[in-house]
Amino acid sequence: MTKKATFKNKESVVIKFVGDSGDGMQLAGTLFSDTAAVFGNDLFTFPDYPAEIRAPHNTLAGVSGFQVQIGSEKIFSPGDLCDILVAMNPASLKTNLKWVRAGGIIVTDADAFNEKALEKSGYESNPLEDGSLDVYRLVKAPVSSMTRSSLSHLKVSARMAERSRNMMALGIVSFLLNQDLDATFKFLEDKFGSRPQVLELNKTALSAGYNFAETIEAIGTTYKVPKASLKKGTYRNISGNVATAWGFLAASERSGRPLFLGSYPITPATEILIELSQQKALGVKVFQAEDEIAGICSAIGASYAGSLAITTTSGPGLSLKSEAIGLAVMTELPLVIVNVQRAGPSTGMPTKSEQSDLLQALYGRNGECPVIVMAASTPANCFYYAYEAAKISMEHMTPVILLTDGYLGNGSELFRIPQVADLPPINPPLAKANDENYKPYRRDPETLVRQWAIPGTEGLRHRIGGLEKTDIYGTVSTDPQNHQMMIGIREEKVKKIAEKIPPQKITGEKTGDLLVVSWGGTEGSILTPVKALQKEGKKIGHAHFNHIMPLPINTREVLQGYRKVIVCELNNGQFVKYLKTEFPEIKYLQYNKIQGLPFFTGELTELFNKLIETEQT
C-alpha cells in the first residue's frame, strides 16, 4: 500500500459506524478500535444498538451503531459529535446526522440510497443528491456494488459477498485515518482463521475499500492521530461488564473464597453473567436462576456456605431483590449486588443509560436497612470497584451495592493489566473450627464485624435468619431494647467503613470558583470540559464520587472549598438530595439531564463558564 504524502495530525477523532442491525457495524467498530489500540492510540468505545434484535430492514428502529474516540492524549469518553460518520443506509444517516459536527466526513453506501430504502426511512428526496449535506464532506461510495465486483473472482453468491460491505467501509475509514491494515488483517485472521473463505472475503473487501479511497480524489485531506503516551505496561481493550466480571474473579482468587454468581438475564447487565459462564475453568459457579429473586437468594445461600457471592441485575431487577437484600443485611452475610443502571422507571428504555437508581440503592428496602453503596466510573475501573466491593463485603460481612450503568457496561476503553498479587489483600473474618467462644453475633469490637462460620466446619453449628436476633448469641428476640441496639450496631458497622475507604479527591485545587460534583458513569464526560477550562486558567475543580454510602470522611471539607458547588447527574437530582441530607449547610446548584444520553462537552462547558462568570451564588 502506498503511503499518502499529506495528512493532518489530530489529537483525537470521533468515528461512528451506523447501519442496519445486521450490517456488521459492531465488528467494523471493534476492528477499527483494536487496530488503533495496537498502533498506540488511547480510546473509548460505545456500542449503540436498539432493543429489538433485528427490527425490519432499513427502518429507523433497526439502526445499530458503534462509536469510538481515539486519541493521542488520555481519552475519557466516546466523544459527543463525530468527525467521521459511516452510514450504511438512509435510515442510519437519518437517525445519526445530528451527531455529525459541521464539516465532518460522511461515508455512505450510495447503492443503499435507492427509492425503496429512502421511502422507508422517510426521505422525500435523496440526501446524497439534493444538497442537504453540503456542510459536510460527503464520500458517496458505491459500497454494495464495489463489494460484489471486488469479490467476483472468489465465486460466492451476491448475498454472501454483500456481507463484507462493512469491511469495504472500514477500508475507506482506515485510509482516511492512515491506519495500518496489517494489524486489522491480523485481527481478521484471529477471528476467521477457521473459515478461510470468510477470511479471504473480508480481507479482500477491506483492501478494496482502502484502495478505492486512495484512488478517488474527493477525499481530500486525511488525518493521523499520533500515538498516545501511555504508561508502560500491557494493555487490552475492555468493556465495563467484562471488567466487572474479572474484578470478582480476581477478588475470589485473592481471598481464597470460591466465586458464585446467581443471576437472571437483564439488559444491560447480562454480559457479566455471560462472561462468568465462560470462566468455569477458574472454578466459578454460575447459576442462571428462574428469576431475579432466586438470583439473589441463591447468592445468599452460597454466601452462607462460604462463597464470594454475587448477583447482577439492572434497575427493575434491583426492585425485585429488595426484600432479599434486607435478609443479607439482617444475617450480616457478604454479598455484592451489581446494578448496571438503565433508564427507568419500570421497563423504561432498557438500552439507554441513566443514574436514576441511586435512591433505590440507598433506601429501597423495608426497615432500617443500611448497605454499602459504591459506583464505578469508567469501563476499566469497573474491575477495581468490583474488586473493592468484594473486599469490603467479605471483610465487613455486609452486602454492597455496586452501581455501574449501561454506558460503562457496554462502553470500552484501554485497561492496563494488573498483577493479581499486586491487588490489596482480602482477609475474610472466618471463624475457626471448634472455637468454643464462637457465637453467631459476637463482633470484633473495633469494626463491629461478626465472624463467618461456614457449614461443614466442626463445632460451629448455628442458625441465622431474617428475624431479629439477640446480640452475640443470635437467638430470636423481640426484646425492645435489643432491637434498637441491633439497629444501631448495623448502622454503625456500615458507617465505620468510611475509615477504610480512600479520601475524596479533587481534580484541581482545594479552593476555587466552581466545584463540579458527580458520581458514577459520568466521570469522563465531565472531566473533559473541566480539564479544558482549567487549561484556560479557570478556577474550576471536579470531585467525582465512587464511594456513596458511606461517603469519604473528608467530603464536607471538599464541598466547602469552593464558591459554588454544582452537582451534575443523569437523573432528576438524587445525589444532590442525599448530599443535602448529609451536609445541609452547603448551598448546591444542580444540573440534571435525563434523556438516555450522556453529558456533552459543549453543554457543560457553556454551563460551567456561565457559573464561573456570574458573581452571585
Binding site: D34, V38, F187, D190, L230, K231, K232, G233, T234, Y235, R236, W246, L249, A250, E253, P258, F260, G262, Q279, K280, A281, L282, G283, K285, F287, A289, E290, D291, I293, A294, C297, S298, A299, I300, G301, A302, S303, Y304, A305, G306, S307, A309, A324, G326, L327, T331, I417, P418, V420, P455, G456, E458, R461, H462, R463, I464, G465, G466, T475, V476
Partner: protein, 344 residues
C-alpha cells in the same frame, strides 16, 4: 448409614446430637412436632457428620424448623427457601441440605422456585408441611385448601381449585415424591431416610394437621376409623394392597386405577399392581399421586424415586472438564489472554 460424597460421622450419633437449645414454639398438638421427632430419629441413622447437615426454610409455621434442630441453618424469607438452598448446595455439594416449607410457602409465594428446583433435580430434601391453610397469618386459605372450604378469607367458601402436590411435583419432572401422614412417625422416619438416599430433589409431602385453623383437614385419610380403607402403604416390589386385612388392592383397568377386592368378581392376586418406585416413566406414579377418597385410598410412602442426573453433579462435572481443557489456570492468565499489546 448412607454412603455418598457427603462426609460420614466418625462417631455414632444420637438424637441428642440434633436437639437444639431453643424453645419449640409450635402449638401443642401441631403436626410439626412429629416431623421434628422424625428428623431427630433419622439424622443419626443417615450417619453424616453432624456439621454437614443444613436446614433452610422460608416463612410460616413450618419454617421455624431450623431453629429447633441443631444443625447449620438459615431461616430465609417467604417462599425463597428453595432458591437459598440452591446456592448452599451448589456452593458446597458436600452438605446434606434439607428444606422445611409449607403449602403456602412452597406452592403460593414460592411456587416458581419450587417447580424449578424440582425441574433441575438439585440434590436436596424438601419437607413439605401441607396443612392446607395459612397458619402463621391465622387461617387464610392456601393453594391446597379444598374447594369450598370456609376460612378467614373465604367466608363463603373458596372458589379456587387446589393443587395436588404430587401432580405439581411430577409435572415439574420430579424424581422423588413421597407422602406421609403426620401421625405415623415410623413411616415418616423411613421415608426421610429414603429421601436422603435419593440423589436429586426429594419432596416429602407431610399431611399435617393444624389444630387451630384447619383441625381435621386430613382426617378423611388419617382418622383411626378410616385409615385402613383410605391409606395405601406403598412398598417397592410389593402388590398395592390396603384394607383392614389387606383384602383390597389397586388394579389397572383400561386407562384408570381402580380399587378392587381380591377374590371377588374374579380378581386375583396377580391382577394387583406391583409398586415400582424406580420406574422412570412417571405415568403410574402420577396416577398414584392423584388417587384419593372417596373412591380410592391415598397412596402413602415413596411413590416415585427415579434416577436421573442431578444438577449439582452436572455443575461439578462441567467445571472439572473446563479445568482440564483450558490453558487459563489463574486470573493473571485470563487478564493476559486474547488481544493485548505492550507499551514500552
Amino acid at each position: 448409614m448412607i454412603s455418598n460424597r457427603i462426609l460420614q460421622s466418625e462417631q455414632e450419633l444420637s438424637k441428642e446430637d440434633f436437639v437444639s437449645d431453643q424453645m419449640v414454639k409450635w402449638c401443642p398438638g401441631c403436626g410439626a412436632h412429629a416431623i421434628l421427632k422424625a428428623i431427630e430419629n433419622v439424622f443419626p441413622e443417615i450417619g453424616y457428620k453432624k456439621e454437614n447437615f443444613m436446614f433452610v426454610s422460608g416463612i410460616g409455621c413450618s419454617s421455624r424448623f431450623p431453629y429447633y434442630v441443631n444443625t447449620y441453618g438459615i431461616h430465609g424469607i417467604h417462599g425463597r427457601a428453595a432458591a437459598i438452598a440452591t446456592g448452599v448446595k451448589l456452593a458446597n455439594p458436600g452438605l446434606s441440605v434439607w428444606i422445611a416449607t409449607g403449602d403456602g410457602d412452597s406452592m403460593a409465594i414460592g411456587g416458581n422456585h419450587f417447580i424449578h428446583i424440582i425441574r433441575r433435580n438439585l440434590d436436596v430434601n424438601i419437607l413439605l408441611f401441607n396443612n392446607q391453610i395459612y397458619g402463621l397469618t391465622k387461617g387464610q386459605y392456601s393453594p391446597t385448601t379444598p374447594i369450598g372450604s370456609i376460612t378467614r378469607t373465604s367466608p363463603h367458601g373458596t372458589v379456587e381449585h387446589p393443587f395436588v402436590t404430587a401432580g405439581l411435583v411430577m409435572g415439574a419432572q420430579g424424581t422423588f415424591f413421597a407422602r406421609v401422614p403426620d401421625n405415623n412417625i415410623k413411616m415418616m422416619t423411613e421415608v426421610m431416610f429414603e429421601a436422603a438416599r435419593h440423589d436429586g430433589t426429594a419432596v416429602i409431602e407431610i399431611l399435617q394437621n393444624c389444630i387451630i385453623f384447619a383441625d381435621g383437614t386430613h382426617s378423611q385419610v388419617t382418622g383411626k376409623e378410616v385409615r385402613d380403607d383410605y391409606q395405601l402403604h406403598l412398598k417397592h416390589g410389593e402388590p398395592m394392597l390396603y384394607g383392614k386385612n389387606k383384602e383390597k388392592g389397586i388394579q389397572m383397568k383400561g386407562q384408570k386405577l381402580q380399587g378392587v377386592v381380591v377374590g371377588l368378581n374374579g380378581v386375583e392376586m396377580e391382577d394387583i399392581l406391583i409398586h415400582d418406585r424406580y420406574e422412570k416413566n412417571p405415568g403410574i406414579h402420577r396416577m398414584l399421586g392423584k388417587m384419593g377418597p372417596p373412591v380410592l385410598p391415598v397412596a402413602l410412602g415413596v411413590i416415585r424415586s427415579a434416577e436421573f442426573e442431578t444438577y449439582d453433579d452436572m455443575v461439578e462435572v462441567q467445571i472439572e472438564s473446563a479445568r482440564e481443557q483450558t490453558e487459563i489456570k489463574s486470573v493473571d492468565d485470563l487478564l493476559k489472554s486474547g488481544e493485548t499489546f505492550n507499551v514500552t
